[in-house]
């Protein structure tokens, strides 16, 4: 749900990023609230991944203001993003095939007890709880990742974001190359994240998946905002028109408004 009166979890204003001669992002605005899934859609080169990488601390914007829960922040590194409560899953998933599910969830952030020794029992308990919260279908947390299906690996990647109690989760093409059943699992996970109160930024080419779980759809075109739509009541054709530029919506987040 979008609660207009509450301070957004994430607020970006006038974010721009240039790579040499390419303007990847031009004055982009984005808000994400608690209990909300915001989808970022647009053609290739529209700036979706660039914007996601800005939130994830992989890239730094040239200009623009970023606030988390009303507090202006800078996100110079992925570690800074993580410290600010932003978790990201990129397409490569960044998981280790030879390790089991628990180890993958805690990779680089292993829990230790008072003496500094790895606390395997607590990690396993947390792993089971997180997978349960996500209504995941993985029967055992002790299996090596290599034995899981593509959809289950995606589940583990999403579950990993919940370690460290994030406020915002960014998912870049989470359903790419997945079967229908696997896609279903991921979409249910996204709904679970939303129900847990997180703000989710979902980047996807698949308009059906986007429209199945998103509250709001933000269209980017050539690095600029080109429309903001209520996913529950907007038809596919209208969003497609904004993506392709057939429609130049007038509204707070259109190029027309930016110029005025």
């Amino acid at each position: 749900m979008t609660d207009g009166s509450r301070v957004p979890l994430l607020s970006m204003r006038g974010v721009s990023k240039r790579f040499g001669g390419v303007e990847a992002l031009v004055g982009v605005d984005l808000d994400v609230h608690r209990h909300e899934v915001v989808a970022l859609v647009g053609d290739n080169g529209a700036g979706k991944s660039t914007l996601a990488k800005t939130v994830a601390g992989v890239l730094t914007p040239d200009t623009g203001l970023v606030e988390i829960e009303g507090v202006p922040v800078s996100i110079p590194t992925p570690a800074a993003a993580h410290a600010l409560g932003v978790a990201t899953v990129f397409q490569d998933l960044a998981l280790c095939d030879n390790l089991d599910v628990t180890s993958n969830l805690f990779l680089g952030r292993e829990l230790r007890d008072a003496r500094g020794v790895r606390d395997d029992e607590r990690m396993e308990q947390m792993a089971r709880r997180i997978l349960h919260d996500l209504t995941s279908r993985i029967p055992s947390v002790r299996v090596p990742l290599a034995s899981l299906s593509a959809g289950q690996r995606q589940s583990v990647a999403i579950a990993r974001t919940l370690i460290g109690d994030p406020r915002i989760v960014v998912l870049d093409e989470p359903t790419a190359a997945l079967s229908v059943a696997q896609t279903a699992e991921v979409l249910l996970h996204i709904e679970a994240l939303r129900d847990l109160g997180l703000g989710v930024i979902l980047i996807s080419h698949n308009m059906t998946d986007v429209r199945s779980v998103a509250d709001r759809i933000e269209v980017l075109r050539h690095g600029r905002n080109n429309g903001s739509f209520d996913a529950r009541t907007t038809g596919y054709e209208q969003i497609l028109a904004a993506i392709t530029g057939a429609l130049r919506p007038d509204g707070p987040r259109s190029p027309a408004a930016a110029r005025s």
Binding site: M1, T2, D3, G4, S5, H35, S179, V180, A181, T183, A184, L187, L188, E191, D195, T208, R211, S212, V213, D215, R216, D230, A231, R232, T233, T234, G235, Y236
Partner: protein, 410 residues
């Protein structure tokens, strides 16, 4: 009475008829102990025991030891090799697929969120793929599937498998939905309205089990009802029986998708429920309304309670027409429990003539959110061929209690 290849009145003919009765009853209920079978068929314990022994030898049924009231009992089920059935429930914002065996046991289940106004071609395509993937998941294949039941949130002409009312489900009209799915999966497909299937499931497996006359109410993105009369789901001439979402409750109200003004759906449908909350809470999904109501948020509780009263007033009309023994309430909105059910029950109580025999019970669906998909499964199982069939003309018991076997869906 008709006979299959035996002299009228002969012992053999009677035996065949009884065998059919037993098999039909087991199929209808999924699994019964021998004691329950005797009660449901009206046959003696000795006869049931002999027949079960024969059917077991013929591989038609399986038996297992179970307990009933703390005592050991023989559970009789149809042999699993007889097959699997598929239940598909199409919702406004989700798809649910279940694979079940002949004991109504769900062996695999999957839900898939769907977009607003999802079209039939894409959704049925994905449903077919999902069925295939789920069969693979349990190590089975299409060969084992005896039939597929499909529920849709619209009135259906079950002969053609088409939505029978224009405008209520955009993108799903003008298609023989069963044929579309049969072409992809090569198995028989049976299509019906989701509330009818919910009624079928609750009457067979759930809260209305054992009642002859019952009403199932589905409070979801739209509202619908399934009506059970004398143990059979009553669909009506064009399948629109029970479409309570389109009963007028406000003569000066909004225009409904169906073209009328002030239908119940325009007052308690998902869009109508979130609208009064928009000013204070922004854009909401139905799941948000349910979650916040369960948390006790007063504005949400009020909206849902008022919806319950409105639905109950319309159900009262159904109660007067049908005189059911119980009203079973399902659908997403029923997850709010007594917040919805209390006012609904009160409205029904106020609007229906009380009788001397028994109070009209208003209860939550025992199968919860799975009622419709289980109903789709039951639809497919009922329509499947079974090795020994019950004769068509076996009559119901005088009081209509118990099995009451009839061929085809109930």
């Amino acid at each position: 009475m008709s006979r299959r290849g035996a002299a009228a009145g002969s012992q053999t003919a009677l035996r065949e008829a009884n065998k059919g009765l037993v098999v039909g009853t087991v199929q209808r209920y999924g699994g019964l102990t021998q004691v329950e079978l005797a009660a449901a068929t009206g046959l003696s314990q000795a006869t049931v025991s002999t027949i079960v022994r024969e059917l077991l030898a013929a591989g038609v049924v399986e038996t297992a030891v179970t307990t009933r009231s703390g005592r050991r009992a023989q559970l009789v089920t149809l042999a699993r090799r007889v097959g699997l059935a598929v239940g598909v429930q199409v919702g406004h914002r989700h798809l649910r697929v279940a694979l079940g065996d002949f004991a109504h046991e769900v062996v695999a289940e999957q839900a898939l969120p769907l977009p607003y106004e999802h079209p039939s071609d894409t959704t049925l395509d994905r449903a077919a793929l999902l069925v295939m993937e789920m069969l693979e998941r349990i190590g089975s294949d299409l060969e084992e599937v005896v039939g597929i039941g499909v529920g849709v949130p619209a009135p259906v002409d079950t002969d053609t498998g088409m939505v029978s009312v224009p405008g209520v489900m955009r993108g799903w009209e003008g298609e023989h939905l069963g044929q579309v799915l049969t072409k992809r999966l090569g198995r028989p497909v049976h299509v019906d309205n989701d509330a009818n299937l919910g009624a079928l499931a609750e009457a067979t497996l759930g809260a209305a089990r054992g009642y002859r006359d019952a009403v199932y109410v589905r409070a979801s993105y739209g509202t619908g009802a399934g009506i059970v009369i004398s143990g059979q789901v009553h669909r009506g001439f064009a399948g629109t029986a029970g479409e309570i979402g389109h009963v007028q409750v406000d003569p000066t109200g909004h225009i409904c998708r169906c073209g009328s003004r002030g239908c119940l759906d325009t007052v308690v449908g998902a869009t109508a429920l979130v609208e009064p909350l928009r000013a204070t809470h922004g854009s909401l999904a139905l799941r948000d309304v349910i979650a916040r109501t369960r948390q006790g948020d007063p504005g949400f509780v009020r909206v849902v309670a008022d919806a319950g009263a409105a639905i109950g007033a319309v159900v009262a009309g159904l109660g007067t027409a049908v005189n059911p023994q119980c009203v079973v309430v399902g659908g997403e909105l029923s997850e709010t429990g007594e917040v919805l059910l209390g006012p609904l029950r009160e409205s029904v109580r106020r609007g229906v003539l009380p009788n001397q025999i028994a109070p009209l019970e208003v209860v939550p669906a025992q199968l919860g959110q799975r009622a419709e998909v289980m109903g789709a499964l039951v639809l497919a199982l009922r329509a499947a061929d079974v090795p020994v069939r019950a004769p068509e003309d076996v009559l119901l018991d005088g009081d209509g209690a118990g099995a009451g076997v009839r061929d085809g869906e109930g």
